[in-house]
């Protein structure tokens, strides 16, 4: 149709051409609905409905005189107060550990991303190799790697004995089963998620801007602070979210590298309440609290950083 319009004479044809462009798309004008429907229905049934089920479960009350794990639908809001009173330390510890791991990952990951994106610029082979090294951990099971850390840091292994020999660690001191081990495990496991987005935003950075900073007699440190860092901020925001969110719900690191008393995180409690104690309402209300706190924190953080379009 637009071909015919193009063949039409003079200005009328040109004007008609613009109007005609949508015409071939008319049969597809409802297409968006059919493209959306399968995915939306899926997410509705397997994300929205389960979250509603979780909310409902968090308000269940035990059946009077029933067996262990028997609950009936109710509106027992006190579940939340009970769960928070009992597991407040694990909840705050989760966010504390996740925050520390996020900061550590930022401090370690930024130089990595900078070297790959800026220092290796113009050397595609080196850049490719370094990127492969960053994603390499994804190729081995993260549980196997966490267990490798546990064995490397074990009491009778080389590292602890060397540290004790050098008196950097007191006699009988240990690395596993400490908060340090859990936080470093979290940092380790989520570090690539910090490096990749920062790399992506540094990669897009125009090197002429940095040269301009130098030409205007800014010291490298000033140029970094006023040019490079602000322009890489979207990557930093994305990276911190990608580390903080999974780290706050994780319990693999705290159960493999920590001990049960002073390192346990809320994920461990949720898992144990569900599977060992069959205390579904407590597990569900802790999950709801975890989800809400993260949504509020993420919302506030993204708004403050001015990167709403990231969503």
């Amino acid at each position: 149709m637009s071909l015919l319009a193009g063949l039409g004479a003079g200005p009328a044809g040109a004007a008609g051409g613009a109007a005609v462009v949508p015409a071939p798309r008319r049969p597809t004008s409802r297409a968006w609905l059919w493209l959306l429907l399968p995915g939306l229905v899926y997410l509705l049934l397997l994300f929205v409905v389960p979250v509603v089920a979780l909310l409902a479960t968090s308000l269940y009350a035990p059946v009077p005189g029933g067996e262990l794990g028997q609950y009936a639908p109710a509106l027992r809001v006190a579940n939340y107060a009970d769960a928070l009173a009992a597991f407040w330390p694990q909840l705050t510890r989760s966010f504390g550990f996740a925050l520390l791991a996020t900061l550590a990952a930022l401090l370690i990951g930024y130089p990595m991303a900078y070297v790959i994106a800026v220092r290796a610029r113009g050397r595609p082979l080196l850049q490719g190799l370094l990127l492969v090294l960053v994603v390499a951990p994804f190729f081995t099971s993260f549980i196997l790697r966490t267990i490798a850390w546990r064995q490397i840091l074990a009491d009778d292994a080389f590292v602890v004995q060397a540290l004790q020999l050098l008196h950097l660690l007191p006699e009988g001191g240990r690395l596993t089963a400490t908060p340090v081990a859990v936080v470093s495990g979290l940092t380790y496991n989520f570090l690539p998620f910090m490096v990749l987005p920062i790399y992506a935003s540094l990669e897009r950075l125009d090197p002429r801007l940095v040269e301009a900073g130098a030409d205007l007699y800014a010291s490298p440190a000033t140029t970094f602070r006023t040019v490079t860092l602000p322009l890489s901020l979207p990557g930093v925001v994305a990276g911190t979210l990608l580390v903080f969110i999974p780290a706050s719900g994780d319990y693999v690191n705290s159960s493999l590298l920590g001990n049960s008393t002073n390192t346990s995180m809320v994920g461990q409690v949720i898992d144990a309440r569900f599977f060992r104690v069959l205390d579904y309402p407590t597990a569900a209300s802790l999950s709801v609290v975890l989800m809400l706190v993260i949504l509020v924190l993420v919302g506030a953080y993204v708004r403050r950083a001015g990167t709403e379009d990231l969503l």
Binding site: W32, F47, P50, P124, V132, I245, L290
Partner: protein
């Protein structure tokens, strides 16, 4: 540096002005120059040590518990199914990963095309629905799915695990494919339509081949997310074993070295694949330049 070769007076001035300052700048730069790569090098080491450990201990003559080094052997590699449970769990993980990847990639690609190509009411809501699963910790996703499966009395097993994996993979597929769709020129589809291609054949013969690199990347991402997932799997699998679940459960009594063999083999395979893609890409770029 390119500024000196251009002839506009302004850049000539800038280059001239920067020259006297250059030596001073060089001296102060040197510390950062050396420090940043050293820090990055240490960080790379930190990333790679546990992988090296995992690979090394796949050669350990360990017997049942792979905790201390007992000597070098190739036996574990000769018979990776020596511990049959490891192999079964690994096979299950491959099957779950493949099924979840196909479903999630299909659903996510459709969503991505719709979101980039069409303006419709409620688009922001759809974006939010796709963003939410990504910003929810896995333990909450797992707990929510388990709460639903329990209340509907759905028997836990292969299909509940697949259903759960598809759910958290879809969002990542959408994000990955969206970037690719956005970079496509809609004029290409219009040209196809102008040449009397119906929407269906325009999609399959023009849009889809151009989207393929994005779709492939999304599929690889889905597979690795699904294959390595532990927390959601643990909540939705019942007695069905996957590789990460098997490794986690056997961690307390020691993991058979065959698990390290499978982990190392997957690592080597992925590494070869990625390097091959990189080299092919570099060769193509060189050919284009020549």
């Amino acid at each position: 540096m390119t500024a000196t070769t251009t002839t506009t007076p302004r850049s000539g001035l800038a280059a001239g002005a920067s020259r006297p300052g250059a030596p001073v700048r060089r001296r102060t730069w040197r510390l950062g120059d050396a420090l940043v790569p050293v820090l990055a090098g240490l960080a790379f080491l930190y990333l790679l040590v546990p992988i090296a450990y995992t690979v090394a201990f796949s050669f350990n003559d360990a017997g049942k518990t792979n905790l201390v080094w007992r000597g070098f052997t190739l036996d574990n590699w000769a018979d990776p199914c020596g511990a049959p449970q490891v192999c079964r769990a690994f096979g299950n993980s491959l099957l779950v990963g493949a099924t979840a990847t196909v479903l999630a990639t299909a659903l996510g690609t459709l969503l991505a095309v719709a979101l980039v190509r069409f303006r419709f009411r409620g688009r922001a809501l759809v974006n939010l629905l796709i963003f939410l699963p990504m910003s929810t910790p896995e333990v909450v996703l797992g707990a929510a799915l388990l709460a639903q499966f329990l209340s509907l009395r759905v028997p836990l097993g292969f299909w509940t695990v697949v259903a759960a994996h598809v759910m958290f993979c879809v969002s990542f597929v959408v994000v990955t494919v969206k970037a690719r769709v956005a970079s496509l020129d809609p004029a290409l589809e219009e040209a196809a339509a102008d040449l009397y291609a119906g929407p269906w054949s325009a999609f399959w013969r023009v849009t889809f081949p151009l989207l393929l690199p994005g779709i492939a990347a999304a599929a690889l991402l889905s597979f690795s997310l699904s294959f390595d997932d532990f927390i959601v799997t643990n909540f939705t699998s019942g007695t069905y074993d996957t590789f990460p679940k098997f490794v986690y459960v056997s961690a307390t009594r020691g993991i058979p070295p065959e698990a390290n063999v499978i982990g190392s083999a997957m690592f080597a395979l992925a590494l070869v694949l990625v390097v091959a893609v990189q080299v092919a890409g570099a060769a193509r770029a060189r050919a284009r330049r020549a």
